[in-house]
């Protein structure tokens, strides 16, 4: 089952911000249907990462309502947040790979967190690595991989728990066009099996190569 998203008049100001400075999100409203593939575009500081932080309940909106599958994630209790996150697949801009662990350990972490038995977890982690073309590198340390391979480890980690919503924040940043295409093909493959995919990027060339609906942000506002 895929997830639908609804932002209704959402604003977010971070505490300690300069008085009068622009909000990270300013009365943003948009909807994403279940199973849709959507680009979130805008320059750095436009509010793309804040959208993801609100969807994953890392932050709560200052105003407005954020719904994931009709569930108001801004009002979730702290105890309920982990169970929301287990339905999400996160590919973070700063990757957050654990360099003192193997590729396999990194990919199987969400399964351990969810209490999947070790034997099943091993099968699923290998299957996820197979999907991203890294089967055979599970014992490697992420530091020994190229930038593109590290990004694929992040994608394997994001999808290993069979998420209903895949959120990728600049997954092709710092990759050349060829690698960026490979990564995007992976996201399209997950979308093809029904997963809702929201991909933040400011790479117009990439969007032109793989067209889909875009939600454009500028200074925290939805401009298109």
């Amino acid at each position: 089952m895929a997830a639908s998203i609804s932002f209704a008049d959402v604003s977010k100001r971070y505490p300690g911000g300069v008085a009068g400075a622009a909000a990270a999100l300013d009365h943003a409203s948009f909807d994403i249907a279940a199973g849709e593939f959507v680009y979130l575009t805008g320059h750095s500081g436009a509010g793309k990462s804040t959208v993801f932080r609100l969807l994953a309940a890392i932050e709560r909106p200052t105003a407005g309502t954020v719904l994931v599958n009709q569930q108001n994630v801004g009002r979730l209790s702290p105890a309920a947040v982990p169970f929301l996150r287990r339905k999400l697949g996160l590919v973070l801009q700063d990757q957050r790979l654990l360099f003192d662990r193997t590729v396999f350990d990194n990919v199987s972490l969400p399964l351990a967190v969810a209490g999947v038995p070790p034997r099943d977890a091993a099968k699923r982690a290998r299957a996820a690595l197979d999907k991203v073309g890294l089967l055979g590198r599970e014992r490697a340390n992420p530091i020994a991989l190229s930038g593109g391979e590290q990004q694929r480890v992040c994608i394997a980690r994001a999808v290993v728990n069979r998420p209903v919503l895949l959120l990728a924040d600049e997954p092709t940043a710092n990759l050349d066009a060829e690698y960026a295409g490979v990564i995007l093909e992976l996201f399209r493959a997950f979308h093809d099996v029904g997963v809702t995919v929201v991909l933040a990027t400011h790479d117009a060339a990439l969007i032109a190569r793989y067209p889909a609906r875009s939600i454009a942000l500028a200074q925290g506002r939805v401009v298109r």
């Binding site: 994953a56 982990p82 957050r96 654990l98 351990a112 967190v113 209490g115 999947v116 038995p117 070790p118």
Partner: protein, 304 residues
């Protein structure tokens, strides 16, 4: 149920894996904790040994019931019969005034003194061992006996037993106080060890939280680590204390050493060893719990 078991199994493996990843730090912490635990353990064993040694002595309190000087043998026999029929008396021995005098005369230097006296100044005495050695029971019996007709006075000889018990009680209290202080030290050391672990694993905990780790999931390996570290320290402290006590017993004279050691010549009573092990595990767990509450508790913004 399976998921719960897997979660705990995973947390235990994680705790052991962390100990393996930093073997020297773990061993050093265990050694420090073991030394802290061994000291009161030795104290408890020594106190228990002293109690066993003193138990070998005839510590039953005795009472001397003195008859009036003018009492006749018939009076003495009547009182003896009366006392033997009473409950609360374990043993009764008669020391006649003639036996008392003869005993006194056998004492060097006293004979000449007694020869100057016109007659026997000593009374007939009934020496009683009460059935109940408790202080209150002994004093109650004394009060009852003093009221009996034909009794001049009653003397209780329990002072030295009470003094010995007092000394043992003081030593026991000191050992308990030292144990309490070192228990706090064990909690503090574990708190700090776990704090460092949480800091070392901050990145991992952040990532785990992003992928749906609950606070319980994050806390669990640290709690197991604290308990496991406590168990390891407890086992080592038992071995250290047993070794030390065995060496100590070897320096005592043979019979005293046998009396000081518990059954079958073991240097450590198993009940005490088991208590020490459980206490060590509990203190380790408590130190870890306080640490994760401080560093991974609900008030913390990190690891959301």
């Amino acid at each position: 149920m399976n998921a719960w078991l897997h979660a705990h199994d995973g947390a235990m493996r994680d705790a052991l894996a962390h100990a393996r990843r930093a073997p020297f730090a773990t061993l050093f912490a265990v050694a420090v904790l073991a030394l802290a635990l061994a000291l009161p353990l030795v104290g408890f064993v020594v106190v228990a040994g002293l109690a066993r040694i003193t138990a070998q002595f005839d510590t039953d309190p005795q009472m001397s019931v003195f008859l009036p000087l003018e009492a006749t043998p018939r009076d003495r026999q009547a009182l003896e019969r009366s006392l033997r029929a009473r409950p609360g008396i374990k043993r009764l021995r008669v020391v006649t005034k003639e036996q008392a005098l003869a005993e006194l005369q056998s004492t060097e230097g006293v004979r000449d003194l007694l020869s100057g006296l016109p007659g026997n100044p000593l009374p007939d005495t009934l020496v009683i061992t009460p059935a109940h050695a408790a202080r209150e029971a002994v004093h109650a019996l004394r009060a009852e006996l003093e009221q009996l007709p034909g009794v001049a006075s009653v003397q209780v000889d329990t002072a030295w037993v009470e003094r010995l018990e007092g000394i043992l009680g003081t030593v026991r209290a000191v050992v308990l106080a030292v144990a309490a202080m070192l228990g706090v030290a064990v909690v503090a050391v574990t708190f700090n060890t776990v704090r460092l672990q949480v800091l070392t694993r901050a990145a991992e905990l952040d990532v785990a939280a992003l992928f749906g780790a609950t606070r319980a999931w994050m806390r669990r390996p640290f709690l197991y680590f604290g308990a496991f570290q406590g168990i390891a320290a407890g086992l080592l402290s038992i071995a250290l204390a047993a070794g030390f006590v065995a060496l100590l017993a070897r320096s005592l004279p043979g019979e005293t050493a046998v009396a000081a050691l518990p059954g079958r010549g073991l240097a450590m009573p198993w009940e005490l060893a088991l208590t020490a092990l459980l206490a060590a595990a509990g203190l380790g767990w408590l130190g870890a719990w306080l640490s994760v509450w401080e560093h991974l508790g609900p008030g913390r913004r990190a690891h959301r």
